[in-house]
């Protein structure tokens, strides 16, 4: 286990220390102390590291992550794990806007609440939120799964493509072209796996599934009110 003090080193030195590690390094476990809410902490990692950040982080923590498992022992700012490709980003607290934006793969777990636009334009990532998500979550979501154990804010899944949304609490304000869908056996199975990976005990049967009505996929003047 290695420790890095952000207050002493600064963000660029911290990130470059992690970037320069070979992918087969034995020095896999790193602790970052004194993150002080700074931006771009542990973004762009490209190795199977385990990184524990001891405190709150600012924008884009874990952005574009590949392979690494990053745990934030605090709250996270805007754009958590944006465009992540693989690996895990786990937040013990809450996350601000646009968590998991455009992320392609991997798993994001937010134990608390996530603010607006959670999973915006997501492209294959799995996101599990222990609490609520804010408005416009899963806006233009293309692929992947968003699991919300609490309530969803206004316009959930607006202009959604093929992503799957599972909400345990209220989701009574859906965005354009987002509808409730049948929860079939394969969905319950997928959801159970996601909840297990996020170490959550909820029953899959207590969730509802939402997705695209696919009515906006090709322009139709009779749907103009929805645009």
């Amino acid at each position: 286990m290695n420790e890095l003090d952000l207050k002493a080193m600064g963000i660029t030195a911290i990130n470059q220390t992690l970037y320069k590690l070979p992918k087969d390094t034995n020095e896999r476990h790193w602790i970052i102390r004194n993150p002080m809410g700074q931006h771009a902490i542990a973004c762009g990692l490209d190795a199977p590291l385990q990184v524990d950040i001891q405190g709150h982080v600012g924008f884009y923590c874990g952005g574009m992550n590949k392979h690494a498992e990053i745990t934030i022992h605090g709250h996270a700012g805007v754009g958590l794990a944006e465009n992540m490709m693989s690996g895990v980003v786990w937040v013990k607290g809450n996350a601000s806007e646009s968590a998991g934006a455009t992320a392609n793969g991997g798993l994001i777990v937010i134990e608390g609440d996530a603010s607006s636009r959670c999973g915006i334009s997501m492209k294959g990532v799995d996101i599990v939120v222990g609490g609520n998500v804010g408005h416009m979550s899963a806006f233009m979501a293309q692929a992947g799964n968003l699991v919300v154990c609490g309530d969803a804010g206004e316009a959930l899944g607006d202009s959604i493509y093929e992503a799957r949304l599972y909400v345990r609490g209220r989701a009574d304000n859906l965005g354009s072209d987002c509808i409730e869908k049948e929860m079939r056996a394969e969905h319950l199975e997928d959801l159970a796996k996601l909840l297990e990976r996020a170490k959550l005990k909820h029953r899959p049967e207590s969730f509802r599934r939402y997705g695209s009505a696919r009515k906006l996929y090709n322009f139709n003047v009779d749907h103009a009110d929805a645009y």
Partner: protein
């Protein structure tokens, strides 16, 4: 009927002209707005409205073909560890794989590399063909983030954060279902055949303060090596350029309303944004007011066609230009050789702009494998290279006539304007006078 009475000839309305009437009928029939490619087709004040004042008694020229006139430019000198060094100040603007065929993207890379300049990806990610053939490749970072991944980001020579473009400032991209092939769908993570609408705002930042943080993240991930460009559409150039500089841009790309698009509503192209000529001086003023002129480089685009346009843009303070539509024409777009097929599509060469339909006879704005195979990337790349070199020679010719040993030594004092509008926009005197509209109190 008394035929001796003079009759009033049929008179058509200037307001409801034939084009307007046809558009009303088309809208009433189809229920959808007109979508098309390219930039504005209306006549707006442009570089044609400016003239160079060649050397005479008060200034002496340089000898053509003998005395050197430099053309090189370095982009990204502010923060990047590895700025881009180009032989010529003419770059290729961002155009996506998806809107263009893979062959066309490869040809752009080949032509740009042969001429010693850079090319740019687009809203759809980086293809191996393009990276492989582009010596210097700028990677666009767009709101959709289609195909975006950190590996390609690190393969790029520079990164261009796209806020907007001149054809549709405030609007997102559009790629209709006809062009969402298997490969395009896979790269963008979208179902095949849908009408794809790109977001108009970035998903994880809003406003200049956030942009500064986003640029910081991109610099961290690329080890502070790559120049970061910020591209904006021409609307409020003074403030947009100032804010881009404040956010930490190495280079600002400013695209006027003549700048092209692959597919956008005609009403957007023709009615939103301002002409390229009107963008340039406020942008340069912003850089000068911040003490950043020539430190943050300015690339201007939108309707650049010739070496004269290049020279005029540089004289007004730009460091380089970017071309898109003109590059496609050099590859073979709208070539009369395809006239019969253009007629079958209900148009004619020189007017073909249904680039969104994917039926381009020239094989450029299409994903149809049969049509795309018509474009030979090697030959088309050679044509583009020739064109870029001719533009450079033309710009050098003009610069030498003005007594300049480098294109960047051209200055507004070398110019005059043919019209009041151009004089006001370019802030150079009306030809034959010392009057610059708006200066000196009137």
């Amino acid at each position: 009927m008394d035929t001796n009475i003079p009759r009033t000839p049929p008179r058509k309305s200037a307001t409801f002209d034939d084009y307007t009437l046809a558009e009303i009928r088309r809208a009433a029939t189809t229920g959808i707005y007109d979508i098309r490619g390219a930039g504005t087709k209306r006549k707006v004040p442009h570089f044609d409205d400016l003239l160079f004042l060649g050397a005479s008694i008060s200034r002496y020229p340089l000898e053509g073909y003998r005395e050197k006139c430099g053309t090189d430019v370095i982009l990204g000198t502010r923060f990047a560890k590895k700025p881009i060094e180009l032989k010529i100040p003419i770059t290729i603007a961002g155009m996506s794989f998806g809107s263009l065929s893979a062959q066309a993207k490869e040809a752009l890379g080949r032509g740009a590399s042969m001429a010693g300049t850079s090319t740019t990806t687009g809203d759809g990610g980086m293809t191996p063909e393009e990276r492989g053939q582009s010596k210097q490749l700028v990677y666009q970072y767009l709101p959709s983030r289609y195909g975006m991944n950190p590996d390609d980001l690190r393969k790029a020579d520079a990164i261009e954060v796209v806020v907007g473009q001149g054809a549709k400032p405030g609007g997102g991209g559009m790629l209709l279902g006809q062009k969402i092939s298997d490969r395009v769908a896979q790269m963008r993570c979208l179902p095949k055949g849908i009408d794809q609408r790109s977001a108009c705002r970035h998903p994880d930042w809003t406003g200049p303060d956030d942009l500064e943080i986003k640029i910081h993240e991109l610099r961290e991930i690329t080890m502070w090596e790559k120049p970061i460009y910020v591209k904006v559409g021409g609307t409020r150039p003074y403030y947009d350029v100032a804010l881009a500089v404040k956010a930490g841009a190495d280079v600002v790309v400013l695209d006027g309303m003549q700048g092209g698009t692959a597919a956008t509503q005609d009403v957007f192209i023709e009615h939103v944004g301002i002409p390229t000529l009107a963008c340039l001086r406020p942008a340069v003023k912003a850089l000068q007011d911040l003490g950043m002129h020539r430190k943050v480089q300015l690339i201007i685009s939108g309707g650049i066609r010739s070496g004269a346009d290049v020279a005029k843009a540089l004289a007004l303070g730009a460091d380089a230009v970017a071309i898109g539509t003109a590059a496609l024409v050099a590859l073979g777009d709208n070539d009369p050789v395809h006239e019969e097929e253009y007629k079958q599509l209900g148009t004619t060469s020189g007017a073909y702009d249904d680039w969104h339909e994917g039926r381009d006879p020239a094989g450029i704005t299409t994903q149809d494998p049969v049509l795309a195979a018509r474009l030979d990337p090697v030959k088309a790349g050679r044509r583009l290279s020739n064109y870029l070199k001719v533009m450079t020679l033309e710009a050098q010719t003009v610069a030498r006539a003005c007594g300049k040993s480098h294109l960047h030594n051209l200055e507004p004092e070398d110019l005059c304007a043919l019209t009041l509008e151009a004089a006001a926009m370019a802030q150079v005197p009306l030809a034959g006078t010392s009057w610059i509209p708006g200066k000196g109190g009137f």
